[in-house]
Symmetry: C2
Subunit: 408 residues, 2 copies
């Protein structure tokens, strides 16, 4: 893409009311735009990052045997009443009335997917069911000041599974845990699994995927020998005062909930088992917030100049800065080689601004084509030299086009 | 995919309150599920169709130079007040109050994108801007009985463009019209362009993309020599009584709106032109409803047994019916060859049910591996024969695996 035609360009300043690093850099870099508190547009750069995160999630979800679908966002009160959550979760849910009918906006989808499951399940042969979607969640957060880490509207990948037995449920539950670890590994985030309470979802213990980060809202605890970290909610007094227990700040980037049979019992999602008896399905839900993951990446990977994207989710592979018109042919050659390249072809913009924008935007590899780099190659017949620099390093090198390609 | 593990299986009956052919077949085939009137889940089969439709749209949008982004669905009243549409479109908009703040759900995004544009545009050099997203629209339809043709919640691809002059706007407007024609051609729908009024969007004439279909809600008119068809709204009394004007029923699958400068004037989306003067941007919007397109395809392409998908958007390329265990190796060989195949491996299901399900689901090519087809090939050493049938034909043929591959 040519940056001269890209929407939008970088901004000099982030809005004054943004205090979080993720929001400041993402807004200035042109990744997101704030519509209102807790609500952001994903601009084309941000969309590219989120699409890459989503594709990694999709591939790992599909490997577990899950199928992608898409459930509605506007829900009738009746379904939420079946589990009692119309009332118990009313603080977090946007609820309203229109034409004498009451609706809620999706803050999660357990009840909705359970309605699907009960309509399409009669026998144990119809189980297990594993379905997920990428969709919008709405949560009435009173304070929304963490940028895209905690929004009133945000994107969620939520997976739901229904099983004929607790054993089958738990086998899949840990398979998804492994898939989540693989997802975060591929994205480039080091996560810890922490035991947690279930909030408005369940009375069982659940598991969170926590990315260690100094500005994280969560405090998690660990002691040598523990299999998992623990969220503050599930820590005992004794554990909290144990000097061998260490704590760390973290951002929750995923969570998994073994919900048991409570939802199926309340909503009559029953199946006929091999022995002919009717039983409620065993149920679990599993969530990752792709937009929150993007924000977490910025909190973890940045310096005082801007963002430093991990390769797997960078919006482009290469940021090519043109300071000489011969950059055009390098751009076309990169495109032909299948490289994703953002090409700064703004001829009326000075070099300093272009370098600063490249640092702010944070694409892993920066290439420069200038009179200086070109003259460096003049010794070898026909070999135009290109300056190569990684975003996370200060070292610059002069490479031929073939050498650049080989490194990408 | 193995159909034995596919969610969900086909249904014998559609809900009694569904009267539209698209809803009946899509529900019975396992493409969609109804959550409430006018609101449907896209089940995995339906999701695959919509993703293929979206990918065709995305490719053609990108070719026009447009960039993909994603705007929020929950909007503050203040922005809708700027154009007066909080009041003028209040019938179609879901509006509600929470914590002393008033919100609307997205029924369209002109105001939201205009807010983006004004924040990121200062000079004519920042124009044109061409951005689109695939997102959810909510419309308070009083009657919702056309299946997924007219929902209270549905998917929309909406593109918006902003320009420095009317000339530049109209040049892009007709470029998008061509892109739309190409999209529908690739999907397999024959569309007519019809002149229409602008509804709550504009006082200018606009253009609709109409798919001829007997059950369509719209009546469109044509006379030899007219460049475009016309919607009833823009027909004069004289034209309506002209015997040379013929009419047809149609389903609106897309529309484009040359909105002019009204939105920019009301919302102060101004740019500095080359002569130094401040001017409002020229604006247009362009919509296609992918879920409505799916419903339209079913209305046009079906028989009394089920759906007949055009190849470009079929959920799978091939429906393989296994009536002999050797179908397993055909399945694996198809997968290895990169063919998208739905494999009916339900060994406890009779052949008649499998054939009926294949007709209902409507994948373009049906393959059968049975004792009968296998024995037909026994004459040639090691050549297993496969029955080939197109969904839109009654003719069956016996082919070798290589012949099947060559035809796909």
């Amino acid at each position: 893409m040519r940056y001269s035609q890209f929407f939008p360009q970088t901004l000099k300043e982030a809005p004054k009311d943004e205090v979080a690093v993720n929001a400041k850099y993402l807004i200035r870099g042109g990744y997101i735009d704030k519509l209102m508190a807790g609500s952001y547009t994903l601009l084309p750069l941000g969309m590219r990052v989120v699409q890459k995160i989503n594709q990694i999630i999709r591939e790992e979800m599909n490997k577990t045997g899950a199928q992608e679908l898409l459930m509605p966002l506007l829900h009738p009160k009746e379904i939420w009443n079946e589990t009692g959550r119309w009332d118990s979760a009313s603080e977090v849910m946007y609820q309203f009335e229109k034409n004498d009918k009451e609706y809620a906006l999706s803050f999660t989808h357990e009840e909705i997917v359970m309605d699907l499951i009960r309509k399409h399940t009669s026998s144990y042969k119809d189980l297990p069911i594993k379905v997920y979607h990428f969709s919008t969640k709405f949560r009435n957060e009173l304070r929304a000041k963490s940028g895209i880490l905690r929004g009133r509207e945000f994107m969620m990948k939520d997976l739901y599974s229904a099983h004929f037995s607790e054993e089958d449920l738990m086998e899949y539950y840990w398979k998804v845990a492994d898939a989540y670890l693989e997802i975060f590994k591929r994205i480039g985030i080091d996560v810890k699994i922490a035991e947690a309470s279930g909030g408005v979802f369940t009375t069982s213990h659940t598991h969170e995927f926590q990315a260690l980060c100094e500005v994280g809202e969560d405090t998690i605890y660990h002691k040598e020998g523990w299999k998992f970290w623990k969220n503050k909610e599930v820590m005992t007094e004794e554990e909290l005062s144990d000097p061998d227990v260490k704590s760390a700040q973290a951002i929750e980037v995923g969570n998994i909930f073994p919900l048991g049979t409570m939802y199926a019992e309340k909503m009559s999602a029953l199946f006929t088992d091999q022995d002919g008896s009717k039983k409620p399905v065993w149920f679990a839900s599993y969530g990752i917030g792709p937009t929150r993951v993007m924000g977490t990446l910025v909190e973890i990977f940045h310096d005082d100049k801007g963002i430093i994207w991990p390769e797997a989710v960078a919006p482009f592979q290469v940021h090519l800065i043109g300071l000489h018109e011969k950059a055009d042919s390098v751009y076309h050659n990169l495109l032909e080689a299948g490289v994703e390249v953002l090409y700064d072809d703004r001829w009326d913009t000075n070099a300093g601004t272009k370098f600063a924008d490249a640092d702010l935007i944070g694409i892993p590899v920066r290439l420069v084509v200038s009179t200086k780099t070109l003259s460096a190659g003049s010794g070898q017949a026909g070999t135009a030299m290109i300056e190569w620099k990684k975003r996370d390093s200060d070292k610059t090198e002069l490479l031929t086009f073939e050498e650049v390609l080989a490194r990408i």
